[in-house]
Symmetry: C2
Subunit: 280 residues, 2 copies
């Protein structure tokens, strides 16, 4: 069960934080450019600096794929040094007809052995089934995304509810069968997070859009988590990774990650009457 797995990690790490390893040669500190392998070096430093404070790492495949073969090498080498006591998420947003989706599921769950993957719902059940059949893995389906374009289709009304709720409802049905589903719910949509959480109390949420994209951490943590202050992971990428472009970038990233973890736990203490602040 994905939910139990995530909640165990959240409890053990006392953290709701997911760090997104959106590697970008144009964003990493320029002093690293003179190194032999600046991108791997950067990932390694960031992972070492933040591992104490995270419940998950998310690798946005776009940032690796764009580099061609060296990007996949970087992905493989990064996976090899990532801790396995947190959730490793491939943010791939794949979704294709059945026989092709089977290949994508194999890619992320076998070839690369991620713990979870993000997928797009547009092609419906048989496009997600190959992922869902890996019952020990996690499948986060895009419901409501954090970008402005989410209004184009996700907010369209179907059967008196917006499409994103319809997707959430369907994913809940699939979760009854497979037990390994979650939802991607953008942190930029304050009211909608509460609405979706109410509809699907038993699905874990992956919440991107906090930080650089402007999502409100307070609202997101308050409404995306369950009564025990769990069942949700909040992803932050750029505002941790690129918090500093100086030689102490990893230290600054570590401090930023610690602050974000603590801030989330403080919010839980305020809104859920929970106290995680002293434990770590």
């Amino acid at each position: 069960m994905l939910l139990e797995k995530i909640n165990q990690i959240i409890q053990r790490k006392t953290s709701l934080l997911c760090v997104g390893l959106d590697i970008d040669i144009e964003r990493i500190p320029t002093f690293l450019h003179k190194e032999v392998d600046p991108l791997f070096l950067f990932n390694r430093e960031i992972i070492e600096a933040t591992r104490d404070y995270v419940a998950a790492y998310k690798l946005n495949i776009a940032f690796y794929e764009v580099l061609g073969i060296p990007g996949w090498e970087l992905l493989e080498r990064t996976l090899a040094i990532l801790p396995r006591d947190v959730l490793l998420i491939a943010d791939a947003k794949r979704g294709d007809v059945g026989h092709s989706s089977r290949k994508y599921a194999e890619t992320y769950f076998q070839t690369y052995n991620f713990d979870a993957v993000t997928v797009s719902p547009y092609l419906g059940h048989d496009s997600l089934e190959p992922f869902l059949e890996y019952e020990e893995k996690g499948v986060f389906v895009l419901a409501l995304t954090s970008n402005p374009g989410s209004v184009d289709f996700q907010y369209l009304k179907v059967d008196h509810m917006p499409l994103y709720l319809k997707v959430a409802e369907k994913v809940m049905e699939w979760n009854f069968i497979y037990g390994n589903c979650g939802l991607v719910v953008g942190g930029t949509h304050a009211n909608e997070i509460a609405e979706i959480r109410q509809l699907v109390p038993e699905l874990p949420f992956l919440v991107p859009g906090i930080g650089a994209q402007g999502g409100n951490l307070e609202v997101a943590v308050r409404y995306a988590t369950d009564e025990q202050g769990r069942s949700a992971l909040f992803n932050v990428s750029r505002s941790i990774l690129y918090a500093s472009d100086q030689t102490n970038f990893a230290e600054v990233a570590r401090e930023k990650a610690r602050q974000l973890r603590d801030q989330m736990n403080l919010l839980l203490s305020i809104y859920k009457n929970l106290n995680f602040m002293d434990e770590n």
Copy 2:
């Protein structure tokens, strides 16, 4: 303009056929397994055998990605031998928030220099904009897919029309701005093809699902093409690639491709009163 580009190719090649290079080690003739590089050898033979009869090749990225780094090497080597007088389509079905989609667009249009790519509409305009901004390239947006799961979301009614029509309508709007849009319309939906064609007369269609997936070629060609018998490409993968597992597989694939091309042109002569049968 994507439409003009496609129609020029269709006219020059007298063909509506797109061959999908869905490479699969489990499907290629077993005698090839003893070769050093069976997958590349297979692609090369298929390309050589079919190039006279096609208007486009489509590479389904799932089948390459699943192989890890050797898969991307195979993709690169295959791209290097593909003819450039036809449309080369990356069937990637990508779609992510803006700054990530930018990386995917760069991957397929710059790193790999495809002529066109398939994308998923769920995240809306800003997720597709980075692709659309490559105005000399083509962007096929998924409207109605060929798989059974298309009923889950694509047929949901929004504003008194199914979501796939709403998507088609939006893509038409974007096409007024960028001029490089097309739609993916599954060949397994007979009535809907005509309905979509009527709504968006000026968008080129990429029609998968003919052949192994059971789409009706007759209906698809009749309703997806325009009055000049153009503006649509019909993709066939498995029923050409894996038509034979004998040493003459390429010859059989060539014959199958020729037959399909001729069959499509025959249908145009029947339904559109056009005669392309004697030209090639």
